[in-house]
Amino acid sequence: MDPTIGPAVPLDDDLLRRIRAGDQEAFGTVYERCQRPIYRFALHMSGRKPVAEDVTQEAFMALIGNNCSFDSSKGTLGAYLFGVARKHLLRHWEKEGLYVSLPAEEEFPAPPARANGNHHQNLIVLPVDLERNERIGRVREAILSLPADYREIVVLCDLQEMSYEETARILDCAVGTVRSRLHRARNLLMQKLRDTNNPRERFAAGERLAGP
């Protein structure tokens, strides 16, 4: 469970009061707690690191300015920040279009280095890795091609691994809406992946890779 999306606690009010008084430590606490989920959410939604960076900055700027409308009776600071990030993403899409294709160098973060410390090992790419990378890449592309409403549900529920309840709090909608929207989104993803070339082979490869 994401720690930022729990029930509202007085701690958030206290942190915000201290931030408004210029307390950098309080700001650091909130930033450390929330920046990763916010950044990753923006990255998955936009597909571009510069956009994710801008959106993250704008979201936290909402805590610094005098126009912060956070209300602890309505949710947590984390949920508030997600809401601000969503608004900024929307503005970005209105300006640049809904779908932003991934630049090749940003498509995936570099795979983690192998534990044996031999750098040459990183140059050896096994066929299994290629298959998996390709499959994950196609899933990533399929997610980015989803309508925004479905995309954010997949990003929050599947890529951020939030529960239906946590997602409902962020999106300010009913749990049932989250559930049904996720089901439609996943079915759409399956349809998109099915439409690619040689689906049977890809699924077969996927089954091998998805073993225990």
């Binding site: 950098q24 610094i64 300015g65 899933v139």
Partner: protein
């Protein structure tokens, strides 16, 4: 017994381990075992689920670059820093207070001197000692006589010092001149002006040997009609 539609409706919940009662889970698996289409659908959904988990894991270490936090902390510091106040704002109250204090002190001094020397209150003097220009030249000596501006017997107690070094009992090497001053000039010396009078007043100035005015007294709040060059 569950049908295909019901199975496909809960398949994603099943994979996500969302709260499903034991009976529903059992029914779902029983249906998948007996239905080839739903079994394939389950496999497809499971592969998607696994791929999504892999994608989440791959991005798990992604975070905003440090410059984002640095920039935000800078903005926080700027936002909370007190706005610089222009120097003039600091100086003006001090200056105004100083002028007001000087004016009050002057009035008190004038009243005090008038009260301690009964019968010697300043009398407006219409000076006949007109000369060219706007200066009434006295007889150069404060110890002179007559109605000259240096009527020291009367004037000594009435002069208001303009410098800290002025000593009314030691007026050697000084000259008393009678002048016509504008009210603004009076005010610039920190002296009160009579609102009901003319724009100009007649005053005596004690001038030291170095030409610096040492003291002043108001002779008349109104410039006599006979004063030449009256403006």
């Amino acid at each position: 017994m569950m049908n295909c539609e019901q199975f496909q409706e809960i398949v994603h919940d099943l994979l996500r381990n969302e709260a499903l009662d034991g009976a529903a889970v059992e029914n779902a698996f029983s249906h998948a075992e007996s239905c080839g289409a739903c079994s394939a659908f389950f496999g497809e959904a499971e592969l998607l689920h696994t791929s999504l988990r892999s994608l989440a894991t791959r991005y798990a270490s992604e975070e905003a670059p440090p410059r984002v936090q640095e920039s935000l902390l800078r903005k926080l510091a700027q936002e909370r820093a007190p706005a610089p106040v222009p120097k003039a704002n600091h100086r003006w109250p001090i200056l105004a207070g100083g002028i007001a204090a000087a004016a009050v002190l002057l009035i008190v001094l004038m009243i005090h001197r008038g009260a301690t020397q009964p019968g010697k209150t300043p009398q407006p003097q219409a000076s006949p000692a007109a000369s060219a220009g706007r200066i009434y030249e006295a007889n150069a000596s404060p110890a002179g006589d007559g109605e000259s501006p240096g009527d020291e017997e009367t004037a000594a107690g009435l002069f208001v010092p303009l410098t800290e070094s002025f000593d009314p009992l030691s007026l050697d090497d000084t000259t008393v001149v009678r002048v016509v001053l504008s009210r603004s000039a009076m005010e610039s010396l920190g002296l009160p002006s009579n609102e009901s009078g003319d724009d100009q007043v007649v005053a005596d100035l004690v001038i030291a040997g170095d030409g610096m005015p040492q003291a002043i007294r108001v002779v008349s709040w109104q410039v006599p009609e006979t004063t030449p060059n009256r403006q």
